[in-house]
Symmetry: C2
Subunit: 641 residues, 2 copies
């Protein structure tokens, strides 16, 4: 084929007329391209392709192609344990920045670990354990270089709330601990099985809008719970909803103590100020990173000095030092509470996973490397900690090892120092940590861009506040899924017109310069044609035709003769959809209107062929583009008027 | 603009080379079209438009536009009561065909009414009531001219099975009757509230595939249940699943009676033969329509003659004649069984609705008028009856009135004649009616066209057979919805190439003649970009780019410089999708690759604009078509090499 002989001449036009209809079609001889079936594949090939797209979208084995056997083993080791990737290149300058960031994060991790344990109603020492063991595992397995690993605030809160609604820690601490361990075990099991089965996409169904609302609601609940510590209330509700918490706060007004209040709000203001400074100037990240430890040290000294005067200030008290024996005997897989433990584990697992992946992705985008969602499921990071780690210049996962060592030293030798640490400071630390989760700017953006997303956000926010954490999450997911289903069951249909001087056909409402083509109506269906929308689409298309016929009659234009369905956005079709097309064709045939398909995609062509519809449409029923359809059909009308 | 100055010259090409890459781009001066934002609309306008698309896709008020006030009232009356439409035009010849079809259908309705009542374990007289009252209502309200209204076999079966699993009719007939009435009341309430709230789309989620499997499973279960009657078994299970029914059949072998067997299978063969004849020659429709009544009459006479010899043949026995007092006192809205009644009502309501709408649509398509799904919900038709009605030449809803009168006469005067009618004939009538629901040809077509649809069909089939009717239905709906979600969360992405001599870009794998454009990779995303697929799409797009770069390097082609995303099929985007585009752009920017969007649809443009992304893409970042993008970008490279 030569270059010039193939030029396609396009519709001439005259947009001077006021009715916005092309007056005359000038059509030189035109080459019409045949619409083809996609190359044949067996069912097995299609299934394999589909499954690999579902489970291995990132093609994890691509690095192994065209490599020697030894190289393959090395690459496999590097893939499974990223430590082999960076260890050979490790040097002193990397070590220096890792030590600094490791120690910085330890100073954040120790007070946070104790505080988060309190959130889940667990002994503070367990919080430190969880800042010590997981980072070591993550430094072996994880794929992000900046994630600081440790307990996640939301997950801790949810676990605490779900368990204490049934079992009270103060009444039966052993049972409570057992349940907490079992729930954690199931959370881990759930996460790693998701990872191993490569079901990362399950997590995708928690939309960002849902999470914004959920996090904000949870942050408010956590903060309100801290009023117990801030006000020094002794008798406090087990419930998590906003109403019982507020009632509890105001009913126990006689238990409020001004010493707690002053100390708590003092440190809260201090912590929030340092946080604000670090947010404004990222270079001063260490200000907010060091603030919690500073507060703990200052308040402990303060309480120690006034220990004879301020009895009303609750303190942590005796903390055992050293390492506990492994806790596998704390797991219980039987009894009436197993269902509760599994449910709690599932919810906390999903939550910490979501937060972890979101965190990893954020930092990966900043530094331009990729995080493997399916691998992340084995080890989880917490947000505030990762931010500090990133800002402190962590280069490799060694910073996690340094951090773990610092925590270990604390566990072994420094625990008695926390005897006089007041609970009120821990409450202030928790509030500061969760306040950052209230992302009102994101909520405002949701409102501006997508009202339905904003609704999902609001629902999960109020669901968490007033009903319960898992139910709030459930409602939000349901709204997100409903939005998808609504979009699928009521898809857009558009009337297209030709943009003068181009082969482009576009929405008439959107492009004012687009012109109707006389005797044609060109409809674009903006969705796959499924059982869920096939009846709707049939009705809608018939309505478009009815309205066009009325318009044509009112304006005395040439009568409608042909309906072109632009199938570009119809990316799939099922048997109900095929039946609808068939039926539509029959109905239009009876009214002597021609139905033509333009640009059906590969798998739609295939399905039409398999159900023998393509044959009934015939040669002149399917075109490669709207332009070719218009040109060919109108020239055939001229040939036989 | 003149006609000739607007011609667009297209990419020349040279497909002689073996690497299938366009060798040289010949680009005359080209007019680039600005991509516009859609005309602005307020949130309220958008909401109103969206809601009217969801609830009023058929624009039910279009007839009222531009009419006088009096005309409007008349039209409203005609809309609410179609009887006003056809009554003024009614004449004697219409009446003749209506009388014929009314009587024909009555001869089918009387034995069917009695049989279906037995399916739901109700006294046969109630079946006749339901063939008498609803048709009168439908002739006032319904929109289809051919629907024969009456109890639906599947709905009767499901109600009978769901109720008798908890309450046995033989042990507590009053409670059973009360529950049946209450369930029917809720079914009606559910249907009419769906209709009034215009939620017809809820029904759309039962896909055709699901229904094919469900109907076949239900038909088999109904038929197996009739073995009780055919074999003359007295002690029979209450359960509906296939296993307990078969066990029950073979355990009670001593109760089998050969008289029943001979009589039953004789009439079954007769009925199936007449059915076959009518299917082969639609003109002989009356053969199968008259067969049930003929069988009833023949068998009654036969049993009457042999009444002293054949004691083992179970007969209907005493039937009260005349009309019962209204049954509102049979409704019970309290007590432990209310939940069961509501559940049963919901399921039967959905089922009879689905069957009714499917029936109405089928006949409407044949005769080319439209059925209003939302209005259908107030009155329901049964399939076999409508087919007879259609074939018998029913012209208006008067045929329903004639039919109802015939049933009324039967109720008032002819009930004692059914005293000797053997149950076994009723069983044969039921089997003949439900056998038609097993549509193996449709199942084979599903297998050929869409394997996942076939799977949904199989699941609902086996779910109904082995688990239970509502659960089987639930599984099938879940599979259908899962299919939609899977399509949304793992959408196709395609690499496009230019079809030489045209402005058309198409899938490289599908069109072998399509050529890659050097230095470009053109990706089409075949789905809205949602939270559910945004992370997947980002990974998949980066993988396409990686693979393209590897290919380019291996073949020594010109390096990749620009990625064009064809957004034609991206019919919607949410906030997560926008974030993904942003992030993708940042990642590619770091690798000095240009990201360009082609042909974004109206609402995507709007969202991009609202979130200030459009500005960051700039003038050279969004094009109206892939062709213009390629042309403009490559000419800009030539200008500044």
């Amino acid at each position: 084929m030569g270059v010039n002989s193939n030029r396609v001449e396009h519709l001439g036009c005259n947009n001077g007329s006021s009715i916005k209809v092309q007056a005359e079609i000038q059509m030189p001889p035109l080459q019409i391209h045949k619409v083809r079936l996609p190359p044949e594949r067996t069912t097995l090939q299609k299934l394999r392709h589909r499954l690999s797209e579902i489970f291995f979208p990132d093609d994890p084995l691509h690095r192994f192609k065209n490599q020697t056997c030894l190289m393959k083993i090395l690459l496999a080791l590097q893939y499974l344990f990223p430590i082999f990737q960076w260890a050979p290149l490790y040097n002193l300058s990397l070590l220096r920045s890792d030590i600094i960031s490791g120690l910085t994060i330890a100073s954040l991790a120790i007070p946070q670990g104790i505080s988060y344990a309190k959130l889940a109603n667990l002994p503070p020492i367990l919080g430190l354990y969880s800042s010590f063991v997981p980072p070591l595992i993550y430094s072996l397995l994880g794929s992000s270089r900046h994630i600081g690993v440790g307990p996640v605030s939301i997950a801790s809160l949810v676990m605490g709330s779900m368990l204490s609604e049934t079992v009270s820690y103060s009444q039966d601490p052993i049972l409570y601990l057992k349940l907490a361990f079992t729930a954690t075990f199931f959370a881990g099991l759930f996460q790693s099985s998701l990872g191993i089965l490569r079901l990362g996409f399950v997590i995708d169904f928690l939309s960002k809008a849902t999470l914004v609302g959920f996090m904000a609601g949870a942050a408010i609940i956590v903060s309100l719970q801290q009023l117990k510590g801030l006000l020094g209330i002794v008798h406090f509700t087990n419930k998590m909803q906003i109403t019982p918490v507020l009632i509890s706060v105001f009913k126990q007004r006689d238990e409020w103590s001004w010493q707690n209040l002053v100390l708590g709000f003092g440190f809260l203001v201090f912590l929030l100020t340092t946080r604000h400074i670090s947010l404004k100037k990222p270079k001063l990240f260490w200000v907010s990173a060091a603030a919690p430890l500073t507060s703990v040290i200052l308040s402990t000294i303060l309480v120690f000095i006034m220990r004879n005067k301020a009895h009303k200030i609750a303190i942590i008290g005796e903390l055992p030092k050293g390492l506990n024996p492994p806790s596998s005997n704390m797991l219980c897989f039987s009894g009436p509470y197993l269902a509760l433990a599994i449910k709690t584990g599932l919810v906390t697992g999903i939550l910490s996973l979501t937060e972890g992946i979101a965190v990893g992705r954020t930092f990966a985008a900043l530094k331009n490397y990729q995080v493997d969602g399916n691998k992340e499921m084995m080890a989880i990071g917490s947000f505030s900690r990762s931010a500090v780690n990133f800002n402190a210049g962590a280069q490799t996962a060694v910073s996690n090892i340094i951090m773990a060592s610092a925590v270990l030293v604390t566990l072994l030798f420094l625990m008695p120092l926390f005897y006089y640490t007041p609970n009120v400071v821990l409450a202030a630390i928790i509030i500061t940590a969760v306040v950052g989760l209230i992302d009102y700017q994101a909520a405002y953006k949701l409102w501006k861009v997508d009202k339905l997303d904003f609704l999902a956000c609001l629902c999960s926010f109020f669901g968490v506040l007033f009903i319960s954490v898992p139910l709030g999450l459930g409602i939000a997911v349901a709204i997100s899924v409903f939005k998808i289903l609504l979009h699928v069951s009521r898809p857009n249909t558009l009337v297209l017109g030709n943009i003068p001087g181009t082969p482009i056909f576009h929405n008439l409402n959107h492009y004012r310069e687009a012109l109707r083509v006389p005797s044609f109506i060109i409809l674009a269906v903006e969705s796959p044609i499924y059982f869920a929308n096939s009846t709707y689409l049939q009705e809608r298309i018939l309505r478009w035709i009815r309205e066009e016929e009325e318009r044509v009659k009112a304006n005395n234009e040439s009568t409608l003769k042909c309906i072109i369905l632009d199938m570009t956005a119809v990316t799939a079709i099922d048997t109900s959809g095929i039946d609808t097309l068939c039926e539509l064709r029959k109905v239009l045939d009876k009214r002597s209107l021609q139905l033509v398909l333009a640009n059906p995609v590969g798998n739609v062509m295939e399905k039409l062929h398999q159900s023998n519809i393509l044959e009934s449409f015939g040669l002149k029923g399917v075109y490669l583009s709207v332009g070719e359809a218009v040109a060919d059909i109108s020239s055939s009308w001229k040939a036989q008027p």
